[in-house]
Every structure is written in structure tokens, then in C-alpha cells.
């Protein structure tokens, strides 16, 4: 279901979906059926997608209750892409993301409780309360950060791939970004360096059709973003982000090529987001009809129906799964709620890794000089 830059003839803008719904699938599954895959794996994917959905819904609620501050960008509608991408990685592979990364953290293997605690700004959070929604990080699962500046993560991920290659490791670096990122300088500089130095990295553009409220057609001279790979002699492909198995398979191709040949790859997933850019964005740039069309095309609901039709997951099974997942999220929220805020005495602990002499660790109110 992936359209690769090499295999597929260039398609015109006609392959793009309605503006509101974002890009449509380039190649829908045959007869709308579930792809051939074992039932247990599919249910596993569905459960992860559901977990991310319930997590994000809870995060949105907690935000309106002022339990979460700052910005809060949700993965609603992108769950199939998130789960498919993570399924293609080994636990030892590295991941860099942008600020829309709660789902990635969970699918990479971090507990929903530690992710929620970070959103709540608690010391038990995945970044000890220092990062918040946009800056999740976990050494153990090799999530090397969510980054808040559009495209800031691209040069970093490229450098991580350089380190892997320098040390002769067989890990792959995956670098996720949104479609708006394809327009910035760091995108081109990073893809160029990765192509030039033969680095084991997969750049993944999540094309949800909108950079905040600006359509991809209004921000990119070539809205079929995967085609940019050709400029760096990089293989590239576009995949239907609503289809978890298609995403996984396309990502596997990319990841294994990066691993085996130490060559970068550019993957584009078409994954409209269901809601606004962030929790506080009512998405007024979309019409009512567009919003309804998005809701009707919800990939999670569609997968549930497909699984039911294929006799893999009954309606009752689904309800049971939902109750189980909801309970997990309830526990995560309770954990976050009950966790302590970071202690004020730790305020100066994370400015420098190698301690500095002098007065820098003092509080502003402390006297600076010996009398």
C-alpha cells in the first residue's frame, strides 16, 4: 500500500484529498478488507491505538481542568500511523519526534502513567517534570526527545545516526516530523548530510495536510512531500497513514534498508488529524462538513469495524478492551495526580552536566559575594 518514489509514476495533485480531510489514501486496501495478518497482532495494534486515543482524550480533559499547562498537541486520528511506525522499530532503535509525541512515547514502550505524569509536570514524569508535553525523553526506550521548534529535531537525529555509524552499531534512527517541516532549511540540510554521509536514518513526514492552519498546498511548492527524497538520491515512499499494517510494512522496508545498507530513507504518511493543531485550537479553518467527513473517516473506528467484519474482534470484545484500556488511563491519571511536584531544591540541578564553580547554583535572592 505504499507508493514508492522509484516504483510509482509521479502523481499529480489529484491524488490529494479534500482540504479538510487532508490527504486521502494513495491506495486503499483491496475491497476495504483487513490486510492479511495474524489476528493477535492486529488486536495488539488495535489495543495500542485505542490506548493512545483514550490517553489523548484524557489529556484533553485534564487540560481543560487546568491539570496540564502550556501547549498540548494530540495524536487524535494519527494512531494507526504512530503504532505502525513503532511496530517497525527494534527496541534498540532510536526515535526523535516533534512536539506531537504522546502516542509515540506510549507506543515506544513508555508507561502511560509516566507520560501523563510529565504532562502534569510531576517529578515522576518521563522527563522529571522539566519537559512537559513537548519534551518527552526516555533513555531506556530510546525515545531521544520530543522537540518544540519545527524541524529542530532533524539535525539532531542526523547526528545520532552519525554516532551510530561512527561506532559501527546496527541501530536505526527514526526522525518524525510534520508536513510543515518540509519547508524549512534544516530539512534540506539534514537530508543532504544524511545522503552524503550514508547514515542509517528514516525521516518520516506525518502529512496531516495542515501546518497549524496552513494547508500543505499553501506552504510547499511540491505537496507530494516524499518526492523531495529524489533531490538527495534517497529512496522515498508515501503510505496511507490510516492503515496500521500498511504503515508498518512501509516503515519496515525503510528501516531495514537503513539498517542493512546504511542509507537514509524518506517516508511520508498521509494522516489527517481529527482535531485542531492543539487542544486550544477549535480548527475554525475547517468547515462543519469537513469536520464531519473527518469523523466519519476515523481510522480507529474503521479498524474496529474491519476487525468485527473479519470475525477477529466482536463488539463485546471491543467493549471489554475499551474498559481495560480506560482503566489503564484512569490509573495513569491517578498516578499523575498523586505524584509530587519537583522539589524546589532541584531547580539548579539540570543546567550543567559538568558542575561549574562559583555562584551559578545560587538562588537569585542569595547574596552573591563574600563580604
Amino acid at each position: 500500500m505504499a507508493e514508492t518514489a522509484k516504483a510509482a509514476p509521479a502523481r499529480g495533485r489529484s491524488t490529494r484529498g479534500a482540504k479538510a480531510a487532508g490527504p486521502k489514501s494513495a491506495a486503499p486496501p483491496p475491497n476495504g478488507s483487513v490486510p492479511v495478518e495474524d489476528a493477535e497482532t492486529l488486536v495488539g495494534y488495535y489495543r495500542q491505538m485505542l490506548l493512545i486515543r483514550r490517553f489523548e482524550e484524557r489529556a484533553a480533559r485534564a487540560y481543560t481542568e487546568a491539570k496540564i499547562g502550556g501547549y498540548c498537541h494530540l495524536n487524535l486520528g494519527e494512531e494507526a500511523t504512530v503504532v505502525g511506525l513503532m511496530a517497525a522499530l527494534r527496541p534498540t532503535d532510536y526515535l526523535f519526534t516533534n512536539y506531537r509525541e504522546h502516542g509515540y512515547a506510549i507506543a515506544k514502550g513508555i508507561g502511560a502513567d509516566r507520560v501523563m505524569a510529565e504532562l502534569y509536570g510531576r517529578s515522576t514524569g518521563v522527563s522529571k517534570g522539566w519537559g512537559g508535553s513537548m519534551h518527552l525523553f526516555d533513555v531506556e526506550t530510546r525515545l531521544l526527545g520530543g522537540y518544540g521548534i519545527v524541524g529542530g529535531q532533524l539535525p539532531l537525529a542526523t547526528g545520532a545516526a552519525l554516532a551510530v555509524s561512527y561506532k559501527g552499531g546496527d541501530e536505526v534512527v527514526m526522525c518524525q516530523m510534520g508536513d510543515g517541516t518540509a519547508a524549512i532549511g534544516a530539512f534540506h540540510e539534514s537530508l543532504n548530510i544524511a545522503g552524503l554521509w550514508d547514515l542509517p536514518i528514516v525521516f518520516v513526514v506525518i502529512n496531516n495536510g495542515l501546518g497549524m492552519g496552513t494547508t500543505v498546498e499553501n506552504s510547499s511548492a511540491e505537496p507530494e512531500l516524499y518526492k523531495r527524497g529524489a533531490a538527495y538520491r534517497m529512496e522515498s515512499a508515501r503510505v496511507d497513514g490510516a492503515d496500521v499494517v500498511a504503515v508498518r510494512d512501509a516503515a519496515r522496508t525503510a528501516v531495514e534498508r537503513a539498517r542493512a545498507e546504511s542509507r537514509p530513507y524518506l517516508l511520508e504518511a498521509l494522516s489527517p488529524r481529527l482535531k485542531g493543531h492543539s487542544v486550544v485550537d477549535p480548527a475554525r479553518y475547517r468547515t462543519k462538513e469537513e469536520k464531519e467527513a473527518l469523523k466519519a473517516a476515523d481510522p480507529l473506528a474503521k479498524m474496529a469495524l474491519d476487525l468485527e467484519e473479519a470475525g477477529i474482534l466482536s463488539h463485546d470484545d471491543r467493549d471489554r478492551l475499551d474498559a481495560e484500556v480506560t482503566a489503564e488511563i484512569d490509573e495513569a491519571a491517578a498516578f499523575a495526580d498523586e505524584s509530587p511536584a519537583p522539589d524546589i531544591s532541584t531547580l539548579f540541578d539540570y543546567t550543567y552536566a559538568t558542575p561549574v564553580p562559583g555562584d551559578l547554583r545560587r538562588f537569585p535572592a542569595d547574596p552573591v559575594f563574600r563580604s
Binding site: W130, H135, P155, L162, E189, I193, Y350, T354, G358
Partner: protein
């Protein structure tokens, strides 16, 4: 002890650190085949090969960011940016990422990298190639900024910077590369400096002169001239702009009762302003005269030699400021310098 140029001290130190630690690699524009625009990396590609001495595209944001990412995974990249003017293209990576990664992820990963970059006017390079923008970096918590003034300091500080687990901006000045000084015969014997410590490079009792990089040397020359006139000037070489060693500055001014700050950048909001404020906070009651500052004229630096020379701070402008300051103290020492 051996007498070497500032350039040679840097090159020998890079080489020694690469021999000591396989994780040290060099990245930058023209550092390999071309052997460096200022020949700091001469011979290193031949010795270490292209894996460890990497020519980069002329794309500062990309390769500086790549060095940061490599450092997150345990390498110790030493990046050369051809001039500090070009570092502005990498500002997002340096300020938003190198400086913040340790903090915003709760100390889970650090960024052990060095960015070496020269600056300074005096070469008739015009407005965009003659700036000293160390202030931008000195403002940012999470970065360390050093600006050594002698070959010995350059070697000791570069060792410390490479071994440090934080991102260090290592500032050089084009005017210093050919200056000479003594360092131990064996580069291995150079003790790494303590980043964050200023040095009192000349002791004195009448006035404190404070500078860094080129202006620390100029302050030394001015102190010599003053000595010939019977004025005892103390010279403080900041060496490190962040962290800033406020205590050494304050201790010196409490001893001498007056100070002149010399900086090679613009005056307004500059590093001299921070030093003057530090003195005001820590030595106000000891001051016999207002703190004066000597800096570059506040203009985009012109190309024409006559204008450029007039814009740059010099020994003469520093000496004038010293005389004015001493006069303002009303101390007897005045007689010697009129």
C-alpha cells in the same frame, strides 16, 4: 617550556585529545582537505582520516545540529565554524537545542561538544564578517563560553572544553592566532583549565583592568606602559564568559578601588555592562571612581582601513580611559599619569 603560537597550541591540543579519546572527532567547513581556513587543523586529516576529520557542507544549522545529536550518543565532536558570524545560521541549534537538552529532559542526556570559532575585526572584512557576538551565547544558561587569550590558556581551556560534558563555545580571535607564548614542552603536561575561573594575570594596587581574549592581551600591554609611569595596574583575564567568575572581579576592585573594562564588541547591553553591574553589586563601597568601559564603536564595522581602525578598541583608547578613571579618583597616583 616551549614557545609556540596560539594557532600551534590549538592544533597540538586537538591532536593530543584525538589520540587520547577515540570519541573525539572534528567537523567543520574546510577543515580536512583544505586543512582549515586558519590552518588550525593542518595535517589532521592525513593523520586521522576522513572518519574523524570531517569536511561538512557549508550548512551551519545542519552540521552543528548533527554534532549535537552525535554528542547525545556519546561522541565528543569538536566543530569548527569558520567565523563566529556564520554561527548565527546555527543559532537555533545552539540556543534551542545544545543549551537546553540537558535541562529540558531532566538531566537524562548531556551534550559534550565544543564549537570553536574565531571572531574579531581588523581584517577589513566588512560589516557581516567582523562581529564579535559572544554576548548572544554568554546570555544563555546551559552553554559555557570561553575566550582564552594566550597559547597556554588556549591549550588548557580546549582540553577542559573537550572533556566537559556540556556544550562549550570556544572563542578565538583572528588577531591572536600568530601571537606567541610559553607552554609545557609536552602537550600532555598541560593541565586542563577549570572552566569558570578568571585569572589575575598581573597583580597591582592602583586600578583593575578587565578584559578577555584580544583585549586581555591589550590590557596587559597597557599595564606595562602604566608601570613605566609608576602606576600599578592589576589585570583580570575573564577567560570564561559563562560561567562568569564574579568573585575574582569583585576581589580585585575591592583592592584597587577603580576599574576599566575592555571588550571587543559593542557597548550597549554588552559584556562590559555585565561586569560593571557586577562591580556595582559587589564593590560599590570600595569604588573611588565610576567604572569605565572601552568597546567597539557602535556601528556596523566599515571596510575602509581608516574607519575600521577608528572603530576598534585599542591600547590607546584603553589608556585614555585609565587616565580619566585615575583622575576621577582624586588619588595621589594622579601625578604620575598626567
Amino acid at each position: 617550556m616551549a614557545t609556540v603560537t596560539y594557532r600551534q597550541a590549538l592544533r597540538d591540543t586537538l591532536r593530543a585529545e584525538m589520540l587520547r579519546d577515540d570519541n573525539v572527532l572534528l567537523m567543520g567547513e574546510e577543515i580536512g582537505l583544505f586543512e582549515g581556513s586558519y590552518k588550525i587543523t593542518e595535517g589532521l586529516l592525513k593523520e586521522f582520516g576522513p572518519k574523524r576529520v570531517r569536511d561538512t557542507p557549508i550548512a551551519e544549522e545542519g552540521f552543528v545540529g548533527a554534532a549535537i545529536g552525535a554528542a547525545m550518543l556519546g561522541l565528543r565532536p569538536v566543530v569548527e565554524i569558520m567565523t563566529i558570524n556564520f554561527s548565527l545560521l546555527a543559532l537555533d541549534q545552539i540556543v534551542n537545542h545544545a543549551a537546553k537538552i540537558y535541562g529540558m529532559f531532566g538531566g537524562q542526556t548531556s551534550v559534550p561538544m565544543v564549537i570553536r570559532t574565531p571572531g574579531g575585526g581588523g581584517q577589513q572584512l566588512g560589516a557581516t564578517h567582523s562581529q564579535n557576538v559572544e554576548l548572544f551565547y554568554s546570555f544563555i544558561p546551559g552553554l559555557k563560553v570561553v575566550a582564552p587569550s594566550t597559547p597556554a590558556e588556549a591549550s588548557a581551556m580546549l582540553k577542559a572544553a573537550i572533556r566537559d560534558d556540556d556544550p562549550v563555545l570556544f572563542l578565538e580571535n583572528l588577531a591572536l592566532y600568530n601571537t606567541k607564548g610559553e607552554i609545557p614542552d609536552a602537550i600532555e603536561d598541560v593541565e586542563p583549565a577549570e572552566i569558570g575561573r578568571a585569572g589575575v594575570t598581573r597583580e597591582g594596587t592602583d586600578i583593575t583592568l578587565i578584559g578577555y581574549s584580544r583585549m586581555a592581551r591589550v590590557a596587559g600591554e597597557v599595564a606595562e606602559k602604566l608601570a613605566a609611569e609608576g602606576v600599578s595596574a592589576e589585570v583580570v583575564d575573564l577567560r570564561s564568559l559563562r560561567p562568569l567568575d564574579r568573585q575574582t572581579i569583585v576581589d580585585s576592585v575591592r583592592k584597587t578601588g577603580c576599574a576599566v573594562v575592555a571588550e571587543d564588541d559593542w557597548l550597549t547591553y554588552g559584556i562590559g555592562a555585565e561586569i560593571a553591574a557586577t562591580i556595582q553589586e559587589g564593590a560599590f563601597d570600595w569604588l573611588d571612581a565610576p567604572v569605565r568601559r572601552v568597546a567597539m564603536a557602535e556601528v556596523p564595522l566599515p571596510y575602509a582601513k581608516s574607519l575600521e581602525s577608528a572603530a576598534l578598541p585599542s591600547a590607546e583608547s584603553l589608556l585614555t580611559a585609565v587616565r580619566d578613571t585615575l583622575r576621577a579618583t582624586g588619588r595621589p597616583v594622579l601625578e604620575n599619569v598626567s
